[in-house]
């Protein structure tokens, strides 16, 4: 693979893996969401996001990186390029046993991610790689509804009861410590931008901060620090035990029966 393609693949892995792992975390909420309408909405969003991951994996397949199913199911955790924040568990417990999940954390993580995803799509729409530009166009039509959904939850819980506000602020503080890892383009960031595949990290960060802080301002909240990357950079293959566990569950059926992927 030529250097230029390798750099392109790095970006595609970041985009694919972010959507893939967060869609998985979202799907662990199935049957546990606060109310039935949310259960319906959230599963629909997860399904769309899994679809977005598939689109990016297909672009990788076309570049000769391997077959879509293998890319999603057979890679080792260290070859994943998703941000660490997005792989973290939904809270304490397990979805099968005592799922003591944190809804405030889920809302904050999804809201902050949806703003960055929107910004990335706007930039990808001007990407020098035509197929990526086309994918961004398709994805943005669906993402429009996701953004609206998470912003509604975010602003409503922020202006709800004292306890809700307290939980939301805790969640923001936690996500804030890690969010620079989501904005990061990894060790090949400069080359990715040199090829005009997406705009520089700095621009993404500034625009994200601008949009997020506008909403924060309306909610009388302001972060005290800049977003951090405390647990490491997932774009460079650094991950936590949470990802290893998630991938084991995800690939259990595929690993057991290769024919079971299509129904």
């Amino acid at each position: 693979m030529q250097r230029e393609d390798m750099v392109l693949c790095e970006l595609l892995y970041q985009l694919a893996d972010d959507n893939f792992i967060l869609a998985y975390r979202g799907s662990e909420w199935l049957g546990l969401a606060p109310h039935i309408e949310e259960d319906v909405a959230f599963s629909s969003i997860n399904q769309d996001m899994m679809g977005h991951a598939v689109m990016y994996y297909q672009l990788l397949e076309e570049l000769g990186a391997g077959d879509v199913d293998a890319l999603s199911h057979c890679r080792e955790p260290e070859s994943f390029r998703n941000a660490i924040l997005l792989e973290r568990k939904n809270g304490l417990g397990h979805y099968l046993e005592n799922p003591n999940y944190d809804w405030a954390y889920t809302v904050v993580r999804h809201y902050l991610f949806s703003v960055l995803k929107q910004i990335r799509l706007e930039s990808l729409y001007h990407s020098s790689y035509e197929p990526l530009k086309q994918a961004a166009e398709k994805i943005s039509l669906e993402h429009y509804y996701h953004s609206m959904h998470w912003e509604t939850w975010f602003t409503q819980l922020m202006s709800s009861t004292k306890e809700a506000r307290h939980r939301m602020e805790n969640a923001i503080n936690y996500c804030w410590q890690e969010f620079d890892g989501v904005i990061s383009l990894g060790r090949y960031g400069k080359e990715i931008c040199d090829h005009q595949l997406i705009v520089e990290e700095e621009k993404l960060r500034n625009e994200w901060l601008k949009r997020v802080c506008t909403t924060f301002g309306e909610m009388q909240f302001s972060p005290k620090t800049s977003p951090g990357m405390e647990s490491g950079n997932g774009r460079n293959g650094e991950h936590t035990e949470d990802l290893t566990e998630a991938l084991e569950v995800l690939s259990e059926v595929y690993g057991g029966d290769k024919q079971a992927v299509s129904w």
Binding site: E37, V40, A41, F42, S44, I45, Q47, D48, M49, M50, G51, H52, V54, M55, I119, E122, S123, Y125, H126, Q134, A135, E137, K138, I139, S140, L141, E142, Y144, Y145, M148, H149, V199, K203, N206, E207, K210, S262, W263
Partner: protein, 179 residues
């Protein structure tokens, strides 16, 4: 008419019989999913479809159904007729691709078709498919499938569904922050 052109026409007719498994009353052609039928060479038909929503789980079923129906109906053409069904996401599927017949079929089945024009950020006005009242409430933008929403009619007291409007949001939008 050449043999290939005739074959293409027949394939088009067969596709009228292929439905969305989650909405079995409307064909994929009426839904606006058909982008192109191409004769790659003699006996090799390529059908290009646009997925409605990218994560739609019905895609594999639609793909298999197209192949099966085309082969079954067009056996007289060639025992070795080869059919390829591919999905592409460019141009993106938008709700204005649904035909008038398609919209009518949706209505008859309790699903309001999407509004004719839709601007991002503006509320949609969706009439009840049963009594046509505009006195309706959005219950959930996300419905039983990715492409549908759940609503309630305050006039005839019926719950109903509507196709989520999907329009190209990038057209004419300038993102100054990128410069």
């Amino acid at each position: 008419m050449t043999k290939n052109l005739l074959l293409k026409k027949e394939v088009q007719q067969v596709l009228q019989q292929v439905t969305d498994p989650e909405m079995p009353y409307i064909s994929i052609v009426e839904l606006g999913m058909l982008e192109n039928i191409a004769m790659k060479r003699d006996g090799f038909v390529q059908v290009e479809l646009l997925p409605t929503f990218s994560g739609c789980p019905a895609l594999n079923m639609i793909q298999a159904d197209v192949k099966e129906k085309v082969k079954e109906r067009l056996l007289e053409w060639n025992d070795d007729l080869e059919v390829e069904v591919t999905f592409r996401f460019h141009p993106p599927w938008t709700t204005d691709r649904i035909t008038e017949t398609g919209k009518e079929k949706l209505r008859q089945n309790g699903v309001s078709p999407p509004p004719a024009s839709f601007t991002a950020g503006e509320p949609w006005k969706i009439p009840c498919p049963y009594c046509h009242s505009m006195y309706t409430t959005m219950e959930n933008i996300f419905g039983p499938t990715a492409c549908r929403s759940i609503l309630y009619c305050n006039a005839c007291k019926n719950p109903f569904e509507a196709m989520k409007p999907i329009a190209n949001l990038f057209e004419g939008v300038e993102n100054k922050w990128l410069n």
